[in-house]
Symmetry: C2
């Protein structure tokens, strides 16, 4: 099983008019700082404030009418939760979401705001996959996982597809890596359009499970990472995402939490956009000089902007 | 002397490729809250982070080569200063900027960053027009005022022109009023395209000089206002801007500093954009229900986003 450029194109058709075609921003200041032309695909402007709606809606829209009617279940540290909640509402059904109990309040409020039911668990002790599957089975609901699913991956790939359609050929494309769905979908789209593009995933230093796994040639598990990039706190790559990323990624860059903070501040003060920690890691890698070389035309996915004003202030003034 | 739609169109030609054609954002959440379709023209993404670059560059580009060579002078509480500094740099000359000594540091740093010289004064005791004119005369430089100048007003009007070109007819257009240049230019463009559009200016309650002046039928002076909306701290409308606004505005809405804070938070958490206090007043008027009625299609100018992360946190947690 894999995901192809055609799958991404089909997902693009399915989400049309439901998901936003998000803007691509440019910054002369950023271009001058890094010595390249940088295109920022701003998924913080996506519905639910993150790219996750693309994959969630694509996957949900492919369920049978009977499955949809029974409701949709999901487990997520945040943005996938909102994405499934909204996708369910858009399809006229209900959702139940399993969330870590230490999820930022703004994310819980948003999920509840879309009309979904929330069930919590302790992400340092519980196995969310097992609990989520049990919950879905108990309710008779279809479970849509946050990344390790071909329809989710194909949906996430639509952001890169739109970016390249809009700005033309890129030499490199950077995106954050949590479970690996966004970067797997992006690589599928970008390498499907041009095999020579350099695909770089970015992980927080504390959550380098994909980097370690690529080096080992197999999926490696790490302790649950403690990082401000809560959307990238995966402890092991997905099976399907890893098989795609192993084939398509050219490398992984790591960034520290302080580099992520600096990138969030740069986005705020220079780009005038709000970016959550996980959404800022690709920008952080570029600004902190974490790439071996920066080619002339670089695409970069700003993956999300879900952060409350107080939490933002705390993070920037620790 | 006045300003016409053709002047705005000519300005649009002059700034093309130098100023950004800024994005127009939409928000389903905002539309649902106010019961209208709202189009946000995002001048916080303009060069120098505010609409001011439009008017500054248009005016500077119309100086003679001899005048340009001698340099450009300006007085400004902030964004016009950056705008003139950058316009001068773009035209290959120098700028000297007279700024209030209590200007936020981020704005002073930005002006210096564009290579301009800064001279400071006390805005509670000094007459910036007189000091600015003396400074320009002493240096033999052309002075470009922040709003009361036909080329500045025509330049500011290009934001509304672009907005309406992009989204089509609007029933109402809202923008902030400081000295009145942005709203005068916007009204010139919008009413030039469609006389029936409802043009509403928005002032901070403490700085209601234009509202009082419109009610009195003549320019009225108020004590220097103390408001978080530092870009709207004018104490009397401009002569030319007032004559245009008297003719073209349908009304003025007032907003409190707390309503501005709420709008800044809404912009941050829901729209994912950074808006400075003066840039948020039109949004504040809409969100706080300060309009008598909200027609179906509303345009709104987010005029700027120049605010440091620390100042932003202070303002939202007073």
């Amino acid at each position: 099983m894999t995901v192809t450029l055609d799958d991404v194109r089909e997902a693009a058709e399915r989400i049309k008019g439901v998901a936003h075609r998000t803007p691509v921003l440019r910054s002369r200041t950023l271009d001058e700082l890094v010595g390249a032309t940088v295109f920022l695909k701003c998924e913080n402007f996506q519905r639910v404030g993150a790219f996750k709606f693309r994959g969630a809606y694509n996957a949900a829209s492919r369920l049978s009418p009977e499955q949809v009617a029974k409701g949709i279940a999901a487990y997520s540290s945040g943005n996938h939760a909102q994405a499934i909640a909204l996708a369910a509402r858009e399809l006229g059904t209900t959702a139940v979401i399993l969330m870590p109990e230490d999820t930022p309040k703004s994310k819980m409020d948003a999920v509840a705001g879309y009309g979904a039911e929330i069930v919590t668990y302790d992400r340092y002790t519980g196995d969310r996959t097992a609990i989520g599957e049990a919950l879905a089975a108990e309710r008779g609901m279809a479970l849509i996982p946050p990344y390790d699913h071909p329809h989710v991956i194909a949906g996430q790939g639509t952001a890169a597809l739109e970016l390249i359609e809009e700005v033309g050929e890129l030499d490199a494309l950077l995106g954050p890596v949590g479970g690996g769905g966004l970067i797997a979908g992006s690589a599928t789209a970008a390498k499907g359009l041009r095999t020579g593009i350099c695909m770089i995933g970015v992980e927080p230093e504390a959550g380098d499970d994909t980097k370690r796994s690529l080096e080992a040639g197999r999926r490696v598990s790490i302790p649950v990472p403690r990082t401000i990039a809560d959307g990238q706190a995966a402890d092991i790559p997905g099976e399907l995402t890893f098989s795609i990323n192993q084939r398509l990624l050219d490398g992984i860059a790591l960034v520290t939490d302080d580099e992520i903070r600096d990138a969030m501040r740069f986005a705020f003060e220079r780009l005038k956009i709000v970016v959550e920690p996980s959404g800022a890691t690709a920008l952080a890698a570029l600004l902190a000089g974490r790439l071996d070389r920066v080619p002339p035309r670089v695409g970069l996915i700003i993956s999300g902007g879900n952060i409350g004003a107080e939490r933002f202030a705390e993070l920037l003034n620790p």
